[in-house]
């Protein structure tokens, strides 16, 4: 465990020593941002909209006390979405989609000697292949989390009003009650940390793949499971430290 962590630190260090030219890094980061960010918009939108909708309906189902105002449903949807559901669930979804893609892609490049080809050319393969992926993740995860927040709250609104469990006025009043801007900052900090964990762990697992196609599959699976565990541990640590 300690040995793996040490190898991970050295891996990250190798990435920032002897980096490639800025123009190369920039172009690669933009390419990766499209793959990580733009190509994930649909899945993040679907998941977050439905999570918001389900959260709204289930809170409404549990809040049967006539003394509690209906606007509380909107308030709770907002708080749950911003503090937990949008950053954590989005990152877990992205760990599955982006993490497996990073590990699989790098693993395939490793076993087909494409990584060796870069090294023989005198190119720092971790800087060329891994750094842009991590930078792109750090850039795109917060944007996707912001999108998830908006769509989740919108999903709650649509579910609440279309099913008739509450009025639009109550929901809007709820989501505007006692708003704490720091919660958004907290969610974005979580998104950045989760982005680093997902992209870093997945790249590490993929980059050091040895063997054949079976091992590439195992590396992808390992990347996803390790990323999710790391997200959950970091989620608790950040909540304990920053809230």
């Amino acid at each position: 465990m300690l040995k793996t962590f040490g190898a991970f630190v050295l891996f990250l260090r190798g990435m920032v020593v002897r980096t490639e030219r800025f123009s190369v890094l920039w172009n690669r980061t933009i390419d990766e941002a499209i793959l990580i960010g733009v190509d994930s918009i649909v899945i993040v939108s679907i998941v977050s909209a439905f999570i918001g909708a389900v959260t709204c309906v289930q809170i409404a189902y549990n809040l049967t006390n006539p003394l509690i105002p209906q606007s509380t449903i909107g308030y709770m949807v907002r708080e749950m979405t911003i503090l937990e559901l949008a950053p954590t669930i989005t990152s877990i979804v992205l760990a599955g989609k982006v993490g497996s893609s990073i590990a699989g892609g790098l693993g395939t490049m490793r076993i087909t000697e494409q990584v060796s080809a870069l090294e023989v050319m005198g190119i720092n393969s971790t800087s060329y292949l891994v750094l842009p992926r991590i930078l792109a993740a750090l850039l795109m995860f917060p944007l996707l989390v912001i999108l998830a927040m908006l769509l989740s709250i919108l999903g709650g609104y649509l579910a609440g009003t279309l099913t008739g469990v509450m009025t639009a006025q109550d929901y809007i009043e709820g989501i505007r009650t006692d708003f704490i801007p720091y919660n958004i900052v907290f969610a974005l900090i979580k998104a950045v940390v989760f982005a680093f964990l997902v992209s870093g762990i997945s790249a590490f697992k993929g980059y050091y793949t040895t063997g054949g196609a079976l091992e590439v599959g195992a590396a992808s699976t390992g990347a996803v499971t390790n990323s999710i565990i790391a997200i959950l541990i970091a989620d608790f640590a950040l909540a304990a430290l920053l809230l």
Partner: protein, 271 residues
């Protein structure tokens, strides 16, 4: 010229290379010959810097490569072109983009127009001028090897390394690839090192052959000398093929027929 001096390499205490010293001459096709598991590819990876030898030194034209500063290693690496066993083309790029890639990365001073001209030249040189827009998945194994050669020579390399260039190819395509490597070596006067266990390659382009057995260098010489070598391990290796046994028999019966056979193959006749 590449000088390898007393290279040793072990994996988990198992020695794979046991004090190998040899010289790879400029302007020649230098063959690293040996059976599977004799350490040919490990030696090649030590030479190009993909592995670090435990002991020994490697010198490229007088510049020590092993244990030298990263800048010196980078400088030498940028003069190296390598053809991998599986070609190692970048899947996400077209054939032309694969050939252009080292130019983009290593020669930023080149204009896009100059790069395009160089790519066209290299693809034409390997006979693939019409395949530039194809993806690696759309071309045959032989074409992939040729793209690999074009990519290796694009930045005007001084040293060309080929790891089993004939693996997975039919005999006719193998001969074409061998001849292409031979022509390029002489055309650009580069130092070429080829890892192989293919006797056809030995007879086709073996200008300087180094035979490895169980991690040791047992013999070196030319293709004309190899059939008369007295090293038992080398003889076992060479004459394990019935084709070569038959050729040797003809050689003995016709007193020198094998030399004519090699000459014929050198002039393009093949086996």
């Amino acid at each position: 010229m590449i000088e390898v001096s007393n290279i040793e390499k072990s994996f988990d205490g198992n020695p794979v290379l046991k004090g190998i010293s040899c010289v790879f001459e400029t302007g020649k096709c230098n063959l690293l010959l040996g059976g599977s598991g004799t350490g040919k590819s490990v030696l090649l990876q030590c030479i190009v810097g993909l592995m670090k030898p435990d002991i020994g030194s490697i010198t490229f034209d007088g510049t020590v490569y092993t244990n030298s500063k990263i800048d010196i290693r980078q400088e030498i690496r940028r003069k190296i072109g390598m053809l991998f066993q599986g070609s190692a083309l970048f899947d996400s790029m077209t054939v032309a983009q694969n050939v252009e890639f080292p130019l983009q990365m290593l020669t930023p001073e080149m204009s896009p127009e100059e790069r395009r001209e160089r790519v066209e030249f290299c693809l034409k040189r390997v006979g693939l001028e019409n395949a530039g827009n194809k993806m690696p998945a759309e071309i045959s194994g032989g074409m992939k090897k040729r793209v690999g050669i074009a990519r290796a020579i694009a930045p005007q390399c001084t040293y060309l390394f080929c790891d089993e260039p004939n693996s997975g190819l039919d005999p006719a395509t193998s001969i074409k690839i061998d001849n292409l490597i031979h022509e390029i070596t002489h055309e650009y006067n580069i130092t070429t090192v080829i890892v192989t266990h293919d006797m056809n390659s030995v007879i086709e382009i073996g200008e300087h052959i180094i035979f490895l057995h169980q991690g040791k260098k047992l013999w070196d010489g030319t293709k004309d000398e190899i059939l008369n070598a007295t090293v038992p391990e080398l003889r076992d290796f060479i004459f394990s093929s019935s084709l070569v046994r038959a050729a040797k028999r003809v050689d003995e019966e016709t007193e020198g027929g094998m030399a004519a056979f090699a000459e014929e193959s050198e002039s393009g006749g093949g086996i």
